[in-house]
Subunit: 149 residues, 2 copies
DNA sequence: GTATTGCGTACCAAATCAGTACGAATTGGG
DNA sequence: CCCAATTCGTACTGATTTGGTACGCAATAC
């Protein structure tokens, strides 16, 4: 079970790359080259990030992208939400109305709590921390055996 | 962004239903009727759950399924993993080898930590708690406005 | 022995996702 | 004022995944 889509994963990589040099204007081609990702895909990602206000874009010749805010003020959850949409565990978490089972399903309220915990795990990490070597501990310890996540 | 697949969601519903009467043998058709889910899909889910050891199956006439363990000893994470496979945020979290970007990607170690936090959020809730009205609080407060999960 | 039920695999359709392409809008320089 | 560079926005396509179904095999009760 993969929680994040590839695009969301790429999006974090792109955003993290921009966080390395927050003041420099960088166009999509440059980011694509640096991250080894397809140019067209990076352009698409940056557009989505710009739409969400995570990065700011400058048009025209010599234009490019940069972070809209300091890296420490942008969470991973924000980047993911910019690309994949709202974070939610189940269909019902995002669109309550569309669930026809609500009346006889006793689990709904509990999903909301789990959902929140997951969201907080993602919100607890900022881009600033993603570029640092080993500096944060959201809820658990530092990973010691990466083989078994 | 929907974290859980529909099947995983259904799986939890099915498992929760069985948790309501742990001692009663119940066949797939009965579970499907009670949960309002397609019969064939429920059969598939129960099979997967049985394979993972979450429920135990009795074959033959008058056969059926029941929980393999007390509801309090089965976590939501287990049920989800039985259906969707290992829990992991990114491709790299599950299959480290397949990621060709590892060398120049500084974010990998951090994913493992976020990944673990998410896994713990799901592991912290048992089926026992899913059928109770409002008894647990994993990390945040009781949901008061379900519209915004 | 037969009917019932789960087991396992394979299969199909639909939805979603990843990636691409093209035209419109905007800015800087000649 | 015109042209080149670059982002913006939409639409499109191919591939992958997911949701759901069907069918034959194995096991158990009567």
């Amino acid at each position: 079970m993969i929680i994040l889509s590839k695009l969301a994963d790429y999006g974090v990589i792109v955003a993290t790359h921009l966080a390395l040099a927050p003041d420099r204007q960088e166009n999509a081609a440059s980011v694509a080259a640096a991250t080894r990702l397809p140019m067209a895909t990076v352009a698409k990602l940056l557009k989505a990030l710009a739409h969400a206000g995570v990065v700011s874009a400058t048009r025209g010749a010599a234009g490019g992208y940069r972070l809209a805010r300091p890296a420490a003020a942008i969470s991973v959850a924000e980047v993911v939400a910019a690309i994949d949409g709202d974070i939610g565990l189940t269909q019902c978490s995002v669109h309550v109305d569309e669930c026809a089972h609500t009346s006889y399903c006793p689990t709904r309220p509990h999903w909301a709590a789990i959902n929140r915990a997951v969201g907080e795990a993602l919100s607890a990490v900022t881009l600033d921390e993603m570029i640092s070597p080993y500096a944060f501990l959201p809820a658990a310890g530092v990973p010691q055996h990466p083989a078994h996540g």
